[in-house]
Symmetry: C2
Subunit: 133 residues, 2 copies
Amino acid sequence: MAACCDHDKNCESKHDHSDLLNKVKYELPTDDFLIELADLYKIFSDSTRIKIMFALFEEEMCVCAIAELLGMNQSAISHQLKTLKDANLVANRRDGKTIYYHLSDDHVRSIIGQGFEHLLEDHEALKQTRTEG
Amino acid sequence: MAACCDHDKNCESKHDHSDLLNKVKYELPTDDFLIELADLYKIFSDSTRIKIMFALFEEEMCVCAIAELLGMNQSAISHQLKTLKDANLVANRRDGKTIYYHLSDDHVRSIIGQGFEHLLEDHEALKQTRTEG
DNA sequence: GTATCATATGAACAAGGATTCATATGAAGG
DNA sequence: CCTTCATATGAATCCTTGTTCATATGATAC
């Protein structure tokens, strides 16, 4: 009988993976950490937020400038900036009535950089197969 | 009058950002690329998929082993594996009735690695403020 | 062929989230 | 104070998406 399965109806396989499962289970980070990691990527998973972060690569911008740049209304941008700020990815400063946002650290750059490279290489690979075919 | 606004009701600001906007707009990648980038991170933004990828860090696994590991049913895992495969993040091989999945390249490792580090440093910072307080 | 196991897939449902609208806050100028 | 501008926020809506259930495919063994 499979080693780990009769206590859970989700585990219905007839295979016996006990050895593999025990090993992998041991190496796996905690659920909490993995959920936190997914939540971090969730922030990068919206194109509006990506655009905002890219814009802030250059220099700090106020809310209405970002809204104008992206052609979206101020409220939408404000909501997304809150999301980014809650995740410590952007910070802001007030100057009179205006509030300027900027990237809060270099993690944004390095995280986006990795995705960027992945896409570039995918596009390269695609081009390759096209010229080969 | 602000330089770029009367053509678009979303651009209602009284500020004049023309210089800044022109500069940033010029530096910004295309919409298509930014959307593609967001879509890539979207794949990392689900904890089930993250867990699958982490499991495959160790070695290849068949569908039912992953399901057993995560305590989820086979269908859910299969759907997510399809998502990962469509994004070229995992690949598979058949051996009889069983299909084994593995990471398809090292981008998964490097992308997850960046997020990993970000979280670790955040946790460090948190610990710091706690001991200071 | 039929039965069984491993996986894939389509439809349906539920939960989450991005945007918009309306409104609130908060600062500066008069 | 009152007005205006810049931003924030809450509620409502619509769209996306993860999971489940039921079923299909595809391979092996008999």
